[in-house]
Structures are given as C-alpha cells and as structure tokens.
Amino acid sequence: MNLCRPKRGMIFCALVLFLTECATPSFIPGSSATPPVILPQGTAAQTNDVIEIFAHQWWWELNYPDQQVTTANEIHIPVGRPVELQFKAEDVTGIFWMSELNRIIGLFPKTTTTTVIEATQAGTFRGTCAEFCGVSPAQMSLLVIADPPDQFNAWLAQQRQIPPELTDETLRTGQQAFLGSACVYCHTVKGTNATGTLGPDLTHLMSRKTIGAGTLPNTRGNLAGWIVNAQDIKPGNKMPPMQLESDQLQALLAYLESLK
C-alpha cells in the first residue's frame, strides 16, 4: 500500500495550511512583556533573511542562499527580525510542524512553500515532520534557535569558514579514515574531497546540538554509536552500518570533533 499518496496528502496539507495560516500570529509564547508580532498570511518578508529548507528522508538540508551557508537539521534565526522560510521537498510530501512558533507547513515535491516567522525572544524551539512517509519521520526534527543579532552574526561567520589543513597527527589519521571510507559518498566536508550530498553536510558538525535530525544529543558517545550502526538508533534511515576497526573509530571521532 502506498502510504504517501500525493493527492490525498495535498488536500489534507492544503486544508491544514489554510486553517492555520489564517491570521495565525508568529510569536514565542511565554513573554507577556513583549507583544506578539502578527504577520498576516501572505506577508512579504521584506527581509534579506531567507532560509531554504529541503526535506529529505529523513533529515533537513538547510541553505542560507545570501550567506553562503549550508548546514543541516538546526537553523539559527536572529531575534527581532522576520525570516522567510522556503520549504521544498525532494521526493515525498511532508508536513513541518513547529507548535511553539505556531506553524504547520505542507511540503510538496517540486513546489516551494513559504512562510515568515519572527522570534521576539531568544530560545531553542523544536519542529518536527508530521507526516508518515516511511520508518523514520518520527525521528526527524528541526531545531530552530533564535539568537540575539550579534550572536547570530557570529554563528553565520563560523558557518562560512572552511576548515584549515590539519597538522595534528591523530586528526590527520582520522581524516584519512573519513576520506578513505564510504563516508564521502554521502557527506560533504568543505575543503576536502568529500562532496557527497545524500546526507547532511558535516563541515560544522560540532556546532550542532543533535545528531540524526534531533534524535540524540551530539556527544562523543552518541556519535560513536551512530557511526557504527545508525540503524539501531534510527531504524530505516539511510545511513548504513559502518565497518570500522576500533582504532580507526577513535581517530575518526577525534577528527569529527575538530569540525566545529
């Protein structure tokens, strides 16, 4: 049975979008001192802050086209400025649901769905995929982190950096383990020969709070388990188990931890 029938999904998504977009304020609840910013449906962003969000099975590819920043699964937005989110889906319909920011968005293949949000205070907010399209959508979250403007600018600057050439012996061994194994078929690390795009860009992996699209906190222990067998943690996701010798794993972990 095909559980991802576009037509039914489109009608459902369109209905949900209509009901929730009508005069839905976008604001962060919990701040009684700050009035919410109400952006009516169809508001043009009048902003340079555009974020393209591509939904893949089962992760979120993120692109700031005006900033030359590419990342995954965690977006940062500046407090007090409207930001335009452009949702695109590659192969299946989806729903992006972020209750704290009052948005539920339908995603359709070959179509861009746009919404504008604004955070009135700093904080971390979690959105998730809300449409069944296989095994892993329940483990496909997107963190939205609202930073004060100077912190946001610092984050952008860090994300634009290309990692320098390595001199430390352990890190070089780890980089060799990375470049010499199947990692490169799916992942990109800027400044290296790894240019895969099937999975998240890892250039600034350690700048993110979670791995597996919000599945686990980004710590060395969780990263080790994820690399060796992501299927145990997020069954059905597209990262296969990795055959690695244990000393290779230690070097690889050290290398990945240098990708800040």
Binding site: P217, T219, G221, A224, G225, D232, I233, S246
Partner: protein, 129 residues
C-alpha cells in the same frame, strides 16, 4: 507415647527444622558489590547523558536496541569487564573513566566521564542482576 508428648515432639522438630533453614538462608551472602558514594538513580541518568545507550543495550536506559558494544543486562553477575578486568567497583570505575588506557585502540571511546558520574554509573550497573 501420649498424644501431648507426640504433639510436643512434632512442634519441637518443626522449630528445629525451621531454625536450620533460616540459619542456612542467612549463610547465603549478598554478593552485590557496593560502590561507596555511588547513587544508582543518578547513575541511570548519567548513562543516558554520556551516550552509553548509543552503543550498549542497558535495561532502564533509553533505547535498548544498540548492539555496538555488548548488552549490559545482568551486568552485576558478570565475572569480567571487557574480558580483561575482574568485575568489581574499582575496576569498573577505572574502565568507565579510561577504557583506552586498559585496552588501547578498543572501540569504546574515552568520554571524559567525571569521577562522580562513573561512581554513580557503576552503582546503577551493579543493580542489574
């Protein structure tokens, strides 16, 4: 032998038998290792916080599907840790703090676990009978 005397003998035998059984039970030692200063409730949280669940299936700790490292069910009954150290509190804490020093190059990474957290983790692991 009169009825009363027989009754008395039976009761006396039961008491004797009962005492022997109770005393025999007292001779069964509780062999659970004690971890001084370790809190198993905190240890359970620490095991999840440091990401141990990503590689080990530990009863009561997060997702229990991971098979990267051995499952830790019944850990208190194991005689050895990682096939190398005898399973007692000081060795377990040493292992958790620095597995790479015990077996260089092994798959379990050093996770910068604090001494207090290692103690708590050990206390929890020893509740897994």
């Amino acid at each position: 032998m009169g009825n009363m005397r027989r009754l008395g003998l039976n009761v006396g035998l039961c008491v004797l038998l009962g005492s022997v059984l109770v005393l025999a039970a007292c001779g069964t030692y509780d062999t659970t290792p004690k971890v001084a200063g370790g809190d198993p409730t905190r240890g359970r949280v620490a095991l999840q916080g440091y990401g141990c669940e990503a590689c080990h299936a530990i009863p009561g700790v997060g997702n229990t599907n991971a098979m990267v490292g051995p499952p830790l069910e019944h850990f208190a009954n194991r005689r050895f840790i990682a096939g190398e150290l005898s399973n007692e509190p000081d060795n377990l804490i040493k292992w958790i703090l620095n597995p790479q020093s015990v077996e260089p190059g092994i798959d379990m990474p050093n996770l910068d676990v604090s001494e207090a957290a290692a103690r708590d983790m050990a206390a929890y692991l020893y509740t897994l009978k």
